[in-house]
C-alpha cells in the first residue's frame, strides 16, 4: 500500500534533532536573561492556517482559553511575528508560502508545527502533494501532536516553547541560518522550478550575526 512519492526519501540530517534539543551551554548574563524573559513574555504569533489546525488556533485567543495572558497575541504580518504556527497538513504548494513567510520574520523567530500531519503526514501519509516532515524544510522548534491538538495542548506547547526561550536555548532559526544549504536543497527538491527567487535567502550566506 505504501507508495513512494517524489517527496520522500531525503538524506536525514543526523544533527538536526539534537541541535535543537541541546541544553544551554553556559549561563546567560543578566541583560540576556532580561531580554530572554521579555521575549518569553511576548510572543506574536503568525498563524499560518494551512489545514484544520486553523480552526483550533482561534479558540486560543478567545475568552475561554485566553492565550493573551501568556503574552501570546496574533500578528498580522510576518515582519512583526515571533512564532510561525504551521497549523495542520502542509501541501507543497503552500510550503513555498510558508517558507517565504518564515524568511520574512525577524530573528529571533520560532516555528511551531501542530498536528500529526506536520510530523508524518497523518492521514495524508500517502498523498503525493503533502509535506510529511516539516522539519526537513523549516527548522521546527516545537511539534504539537494530535489530530487535531486541543487548545489546551497548544497552550502547553507554547508554554514549553516559552520555557526554552527563557532558558536561552538556541532556536531553530540559528539552525536554519547555519544549515541553510541543506534546507534549501531539500526545499529545492520538492519545489523544483517553483523555487523562491535568490534574493529571498541570499543574505543568509552573508553571515554577520549580531
Amino acid at each position: 500500500m505504501y507508495r513512494h512519492s517524489h517527496c520522500e526519501g531525503f538524506q536525514q540530517d543526523p544533527t538536526a534533532q539534537e541541535l535543537g534539543l541541546a541544553g544551554p551551554e553556559g549561563g546567560l548574563g543578566p541583560l540576556e536573561q532580561l531580554v530572554a524573559w521579555m521575549r518569553k513574555r511576548s510572543l506574536f504569533v503568525l498563524a499560518f492556517g494551512t489545514g484544520c489546525g486553523a480552526i483550533e488556533m482561534r479558540p486560543l485567543m478567545t475568552s475561554r482559553f485566553d492565550a493573551e495572558r501568556f503574552g501570546i497575541v496574533n500578528a498580522a504580518t510576518p515582519r512583526q511575528a515571533d512564532v510561525l504556527v504551521i497549523s495542520g497538513y502542509l501541501a507543497i504548494k503552500t510550503l513555498k508560502r510558508v517558507i517565504r513567510s518564515y524568511e520574512q520574520m525577524q530573528e529571533p523567530k520560532y516555528v511551531i508545527a501542530l498536528g500529526s500531519c506536520t510530523i508524518n503526514g497523518g492521514m495524508y501519509w500517502d498523498s503525493y502533494n503533502t509535506v510529511k516532515q516539516v522539519h526537513r524544510y523549516l527548522p521546527v522548534d516545537m511539534y504539537i501532536n494530535g489530530c487535531m491538538p486541543r487548545p489546551e495542548a497548544l497552550i502547553e506547547g507554547f508554554v514549553a516553547l516559552q520555557g526554552r526561550i527563557a532558558r536561552g536555548e538556541p532556536g531553530g532559526y540559528q539552525r536554519y541560518r547555519e544549515r541553510i544549504d541543506w534546507y534549501k536543497a531539500n526545499q529545492r527538491r520538492v519545489l523544483g522550478d517553483n523555487m523562491l527567487p535568490d534574493y529571498t535567502y541570499d543574505w543568509y550566506h552573508a553571515g554577520g550575526i549580531a
Binding site: S42, E68, F70, N74, A76, T77, Q80
Partner: protein
C-alpha cells in the same frame, strides 16, 4: 541643567504612563470580554522585546529615517506640552509653543513615517497611510473646531494661559464649555487610534496598515512613540479641559479618568470603515460643533 533633568523626566513620565495605561486598556478590555487578560506590564514587555530583536529589516535610508522622525516628533510634541500647572517641572519647551503648534506636531511624526511606509514599497502600507490621512481629514475638522471654541473662550492659543485660567473645578473648561468637550471627545478617540475608529492599523483590514513592513526594532520604536504620544494627547486634554494638574498624581488621576472614559467608549463599539468614520465626524461631532459655534459665538 534644568532642561537636562526636565526633558528626560517628561519623556520617562510619558513612556511609563503610556505602557501602564495601555496595559490597563488591554486588561480592561479583557475583563469586559470575560477574560483574564495580560499583565498590566504587557505593553512594556512587547515594546522591549521588539527593541531587543536581534534582526531588523530595512528598506533603504528613507525607511530607516521614518521611525526616527516619528519618535522625534513624538518627543518634540511631548516636550511642547506642559504637564504640570504652576510648576517649573515637566514643562519642557512649552513656553515656546502653543496649542496650534501642538496640534500640528501631533501629525508631524505620522507624516514622516508615511514616507518610510511609501519607501518600503508595500502597497498595503500605503493604503493604510491613505486611510490614516483620510481619517485625519475627518477627525481634525471637529477636533480643531472644538479646540477653537476653547481658544476663543480664553482668547489665547497658549496652553499655559488656558490652564492658568481654570483655577477651580467650577472654572474647568469641561464645566464652563461642555459643548467643546463633547465636540472633541469622539475625534479625540480617533486621534488616539482607538476603537471604533481604528480601521487604519487594524490587522484584519489591510494587513496591519502602515506598519506592515515594520518589524524588529522599528516596530518597537513605533510602539514607543505611540504610547508617548497618547499620553501627550491625554495630558493636553487634561490641561485644556480639566484644569491641568499641580502635581504628578493629580495629573495621573485626571489623565486616567479621561483615559477610562475613552476606553469605555471604545470598548463597546464596533469598528467603522474609514469613510463611515469620516462621514460620521462630519455629521455628528461637526454638527455639534456648529451648534456650539452658533450657541457660543453667534448668539452673544
Amino acid at each position: 541643567m534644568h532642561y537636562l533633568l526636565d526633558i528626560p523626566a517628561m519623556i520617562a513620565t510619558s513612556y511609563v504612563l503610556g505602557f501602564l495605561f495601555y496595559g490597563f486598556y488591554r486588561q480592561y478590555n479583557a475583563r469586559i470580554q470575560r477574560r483574564w487578560g495580560p499583565s498590566i506590564f504587557q505593553n512594556l514587555y512587547d515594546n522591549l522585546k521588539f527593541l531587543f530583536k536581534s534582526e531588523t529589516l530595512s528598506h533603504g535610508p528613507m525607511f530607516f529615517f521614518g521611525p526616527m522622525i516619528i519618535v522625534s516628533g513624538a518627543v518634540t510634541t511631548v516636550l511642547f506640552i506642559p504637564f504640570l500647572k504652576d510648576s517649573i517641572w515637566l514643562q519642557g519647551f512649552s513656553q515656546h509653543g502653543n496649542l496650534i503648534l501642538i496640534i500640528y506636531l501631533f501629525v508631524l511624526g505620522p507624516l514622516g513615517n508615511a514616507l518610510a511606509v511609501g519607501s518600503s514599497g508595500n502597497p498595503f502600507g500605503v493604503m493604510g497611510v491613505t486611510r490614516g490621512l483620510t481619517r485625519l481629514m475627518g477627525l481634525e475638522v471637529p477636533f480643531f473646531l472644538g479646540l477653537a471654541l476653547v481658544m476663543l473662550q480664553y482668547e489665547t492659543v497658549s496652553v499655559h494661559a488656558i490652564m492658568a485660567a481654570q483655577s477651580s473645578i467650577g472654572e474647568w473648561t469641561l464645566v464652563t464649555n461642555p459643548i467643546a468637550f463633547l465636540v472633541i471627545l469622539l475625534p479625540f478617540i480617533a486621534s488616539m487610534n482607538a476603537a471604533p475608529f481604528d480601521v487604519v492599523g487594524a490587522p484584519q483590514e489591510v494587513y496591519a496598515g502602515p506598519r506592515v513592513e515594520f518589524g524588529g526594532r522599528f516596530l518597537g520604536v513605533l510602539m514607543t512613540q505611540n504610547m508617548m504620544l497618547s499620553v501627550g494627547k491625554l495630558v493636553l486634554l487634561v490641561d485644556l479641559f480639566l484644569g491641568g494638574a499641580t502635581n504628578l498624581f493629580i495629573l495621573i488621576a485626571k489623565a486616567f479618568a479621561l483615559f477610562l472614559l475613552i476606553t469605555s467608549i471604545s470598548a463597546v463599539f464596533p469598528r467603522l470603515k474609514t469613510e463611515q468614520a469620516v462621514d460620521f465626524f462630519w455629521k455628528v461631532p461637526l454638527g455639534l460643533g456648529v451648534v456650539g459655534v452658533v450657541a457660543t459665538v453667534w448668539l452673544q
